[in-house]
């Protein structure tokens, strides 16, 4: 079955998320830092009347943070009724991917903190890592997400 995905890059690697889960893709604007938050939280931005938290996927994937460039994008996702922005290095492509062709993540990569990988798919000789959004936040992070909101 083919499904539409949005492709984006973080630290040179291409990732894919289902476009049904993506609300919009925005230019990176000024992010306001919020003190005393989990390490992967970049801050908040103002989007159409809403304050949206921004997560740095570089940080989340344990890469060194780099300053935003004009290619940086905010992939705004809907997750369990929440709106969250994922800061990525670039997001320029839509792709229709055959979900049957998604290969399981290689054993050697399976670790507790990469459960967010649904699998790997090859497209034009390039590997794309397919992300399982709900798993993007590991156990503690999920807890942080599900603690009662103020």
């Amino acid at each position: 079955m083919k499904e539409p995905f949005i492709l984006f890059k973080v630290a040179g690697t291409t990732y894919a998320v289902r476009s049904a889960q993506v609300q919009s893709i925005e230019m990176m604007d000024t992010v306001t830092h919020v003190p005393n938050t989990p390490e992967f939280v970049e801050g908040v931005v103002y989007l159409r009347g809403m304050v949206v938290p921004v997560i740095s996927l570089r940080r989340r994937f344990k890469f060194d943070p780099v300053p935003f460039t004009p290619r940086s994008r905010l992939v705004v996702i809907q997750l369990d009724g929440r709106t969250i922005g994922l800061a990525v290095d670039e997001a320029r492509e839509f792709a229709s991917l055959e979900t049957n062709e998604i290969q399981p993540t290689p054993e050697t990569l399976v670790a507790p903190d990469v459960r967010y990988l649904e699998g790997v798919i090859s497209r034009n000789n390039n590997l794309i890592l397919v992300i399982l959004l709900p798993e993007l936040f590991d156990f503690e992070e999920k807890q942080a997400l599900s603690k009662p909101s103020a």
């Binding site: 919020v34 938050t37 989990p38 908040v44 009347g49 304050v51 994008r73 942080a144 103020a150």
Partner: protein, 705 residues
């Protein structure tokens, strides 16, 4: 496709502007449609011209904008509609309901386009629809011509050959009877360009002469701002006056109003008035002359002279400047007592003046605040068109009543109210109102009725959306909920749970998914937006009789004055009410003790808390101010909070000013913190965190322990 992302910014502007035009298109189309009804009076048929001109202008603008952002299909569609409207303006096509349907279809497609502009796939999916509609119009109305409009762009501005004899606007005979071909062309040209045509009558008088206003001066001043199409002398008895026909570009204020008497035969107030009327049906019988508004009593001035559009940024600046005035005024009041010993008469005058200033400032603040408020009608105005479309889509007959449109509410509320209202109306039409035959069989009037009303209740407004349809089947809701395991076995079903249940994502008792509603997402959206406005939602329903949703919302969203400060390279906002006094810290007065710092204040000493020490940022270490700013000479400021039992002074690096701000909550637990009261956006779209001073000091105290 990548192009789409890069032009994101343009697209936002495009979206805003086109959305405005689409709204005015829908208003004009509905008004135009009313002139087709069998009971339309001849006067109303004559009134079509301004609607057609408005439509022409809007589609013309959309065409241009769409071309600019590369949405060629939208440009093509607008282009053919524009040609159609030109034919209608020239009365070369009979206006009938089929024609209006085509225009509505175009409006709808463009609206869908604007709504889904962020979604590249949706946009490209719309393209075939737009082309199909364009071809259809071409087939139906321009079958013989290859390219009806021969051409885009350059041709649009060109004047058409003037229809001889008839003018699209009524003019006084003295002008109309003496127009030559060129002048007629100019008139039509001006209308097509969206200019306002006005006549100015100048009656010479010795006073006007004395101030230099003679005929040639008037002529000159008119020519300076607009196109002078025709001038003619008028003689009555022994007096001579002059009449000028002028085309004013859009947005240009009416010149020399104090010298000449203006009237605007094609003024745009007609559609605006119609819009204000509550019932789309009553629009048809309402004639401009017998409008409820005291229009006849006033001069012939167009309302555009008394209404000014101001952009929000300017308004925000005004708010801010008024707030600053308030602060400066309070400083002045503080300084006055220092003048003790000054000569009494001078001091009395100064005191008196300061008091007068207080009063004026208070009034000014109130007036400025009121500019934030807009009538609820702004939120209701898209409803007639939406309901008309949905009613057609579901094959239902529906009458709409709007009440309480004049209630003044915060403009932000109006903005956010639109979406939940549309969802509720959709639900009412899709699920509430029964088909006419069913209604008749049940002994109800064939035509279903939806009422949207707003009633102010103190600081709140209650907005009710009610339909007289089949009501919500509680048994079905219960059955579905039990099936989904949402109600535990043995647990009783409480009808007040119903609202929560139907507001759950994906919960729908409908078997079929249909166009407007029924995917079970609508109520969730309503619930979410009502909560985001700090309001509440309630439901009353009686099977077979009615469904009533009530939204209770604050009249104004939380607006507060905040002090903007800077600490360790970050900007924060602190509610002004939490701060009793601002002082400058003199470093040599700081007393450092083992557990912290003390600072003399009045007769006591205050513990100093440095904002920069309270926060930890993982992203970047707190930025040190440039070295030149440091050292003992550098000034710091403290915000004193003495209201609680243990007064404290919060030290910041810099004070940036005071501004009135709309508080936005930080609902997401990822960023929610007890000492962050919310965030407010600055004019440039960036956010500033609003700190809850008391919660902050609490943290400090706990850390001490």
């Amino acid at each position: 496709m990548t192009q789409q992302f890069d032009s994101q910014e343009f697209l936002q502007d495009y979206r805003a502007e086109v959305a405005d035009h689409l709204q005015s298109i829908s208003k004009h189309l509905l008004a135009l449609e009313d002139t087709l009804k069998p009971d339309a009076t001849p006067v109303m048929i004559l009134e079509r011209a301004p609607y057609l001109e408005g439509l022409f202008r809007s589609f013309h603008t959309i065409k241009g904008l769409s071309g600019m952002v590369g949405l060629d299909h939208a440009a093509g569609l607008s282009h053919i509609v524009e040609s159609l409207l030109r034919q209608m303006l020239k009365a070369e096509i009979e206006i009938d309901s089929g024609l209006i349907d085509r225009l509505l279809q175009a409006q709808k497609l463009l609206q869908t386009l604007v709504d889904q502009l962020d979604d590249v796939t949706a946009v490209s999916n719309l393209q075939p629809d737009m082309s199909a509609l364009r071809d259809k119009i071409q087939m139906e109305y321009f079958p013989t011509e290859q390219e009806p409009l021969a051409a885009s762009g350059s041709e649009a501005g060109k004047p058409e050959a003037a229809p001889t004899g008839q003018l699209p606007i009524p003019l006084p005979n003295i002008l109309a009877d003496h127009l030559n071909e060129l002048e007629r062309n100019k008139i039509i040209h001006s209308l097509l360009e969206g200019k306002r045509l006005g006549t100015a009558i100048f009656v010479p008088s010795p006073e006007k002469q004395a101030s230099g206003m003679n005929v040639s001066e008037v002529r000159k001043q008119l020519q300076d701002v607009g196109d002078l199409i025709k001038a003619a002398p008028m003689v009555s008895g022994s007096a001579v006056s002059f009449i000028f026909l002028v085309a004013l570009p859009e947005g240009v204020p009416v010149p020399i109003e104090d010298v000449v008497e203006w009237s605007f035969p094609n003024a745009e107030e007609a559609p605006a008035k119609l819009q204000a009327s509550s019932d789309p049906r009553s629009v048809a019988v309402q004639q401009p002359g017998i409008d409820k508004q005291p229009a006849q009593g006033r001069s012939l001035r167009s309302p555009s002279v008394t209404m000014v559009r101001v952009d929000l940024i300017t308004l925000e600046e005004i708010f801010q400047q008024v707030s600053e005035l308030v602060v400066e005024h309070s400083r002045l009041k503080e300084l006055l007592p220092l003048l003790k010993g000054a000569p009494t008469p001078a001091l009395d005058t100064l005191n008196q003046t300061t008091n007068d200033l207080s009063r004026t400032l208070k009034a000014l603040r109130k007036t400025v605040m009121s500019t934030r408020m807009v009538p609820l009608a702004d939120a209701f105005s898209p409803m007639p068109l939406a309901i008309r479309d949905l009613a057609r889509g579901y094959g239902k007959e529906i009458q709409l009543t709007l009440e309480g449109e004049n209630t003044q509410v915060d403009r932000i509320l109006v903005e956010r109210l639109l979406e939940p209202l549309l969802h509720l109306v959709r639900n009412a039409i899709a699920h509430g109102i029964e088909p006419s035959d069913q209604r008749q069989a049940a002994g109800k009037p064939r035509v279903g009725h939806i009422c949207i009303s707003g009633q102010p209740q103190g600081e709140w407004i209650k907005i009710v959306v009610e339909d007289d349809g089949r009501g919500i089947d509680m048994a079905a809701v219960e059955e579905k909920a039990r099936k989904l395991g949402l109600i535990e076995k043995g647990q009783e079903f409480n009808s007040s749970d119903a609202l929560d249940l139907i507001s759950m994502p994906g919960f729908s008792t409908q078997k079929d998914v249909n166009m407007g509603a029924g995917r079970g997402m609508g109520m969730e959206v309503v619930m979410r937006s009502v909560r985001s406005m700090h309001g509440s939602l309630s439901l009353q329903t009686e099977p077979g009789k009615y469904t009533r949703f009530s939204l209770r919302l604050p009249l104004t969203l939380t607006i507060m004055n905040v002090i903007l400060v800077r600490s360790a390279g970050e900007t924060y906002a602190i509610p002004q009410t939490a701060v009793d006094e601002l002082i400058e810290i003199e470093p040599q007065k700081i007393v450092t003790v083992e557990s912290g710092q003390l600072y003399p204040y009045k007769d006591a000493s205050l513990p100093l808390i440095h904002l920069r020490d309270l926060f930890q940022f993982h992203f970047h270490p707190p930025q040190e101010e440039p070295a030149s700013n440091r050292g003992p000479a550098r000034m710091q400021y403290a915000l004193i909070n003495g209201k609680n039992e243990n007064p404290l002074a919060l030290v910041v690096d810099r004070l940036l000013g005071i501004r009135e701000s709309v508080v936005r909550t930080l609902p997401d637990p990822l960023v929610a913190q007890p000492y962050i009261a919310g965030a407010t956006e600055l004019g440039d779209g960036s956010l500033v965190l609003i700190l809850d001073l008391l919660a902050l000091l609490e943290i400090f105290r706990q850390r001490r322990k």
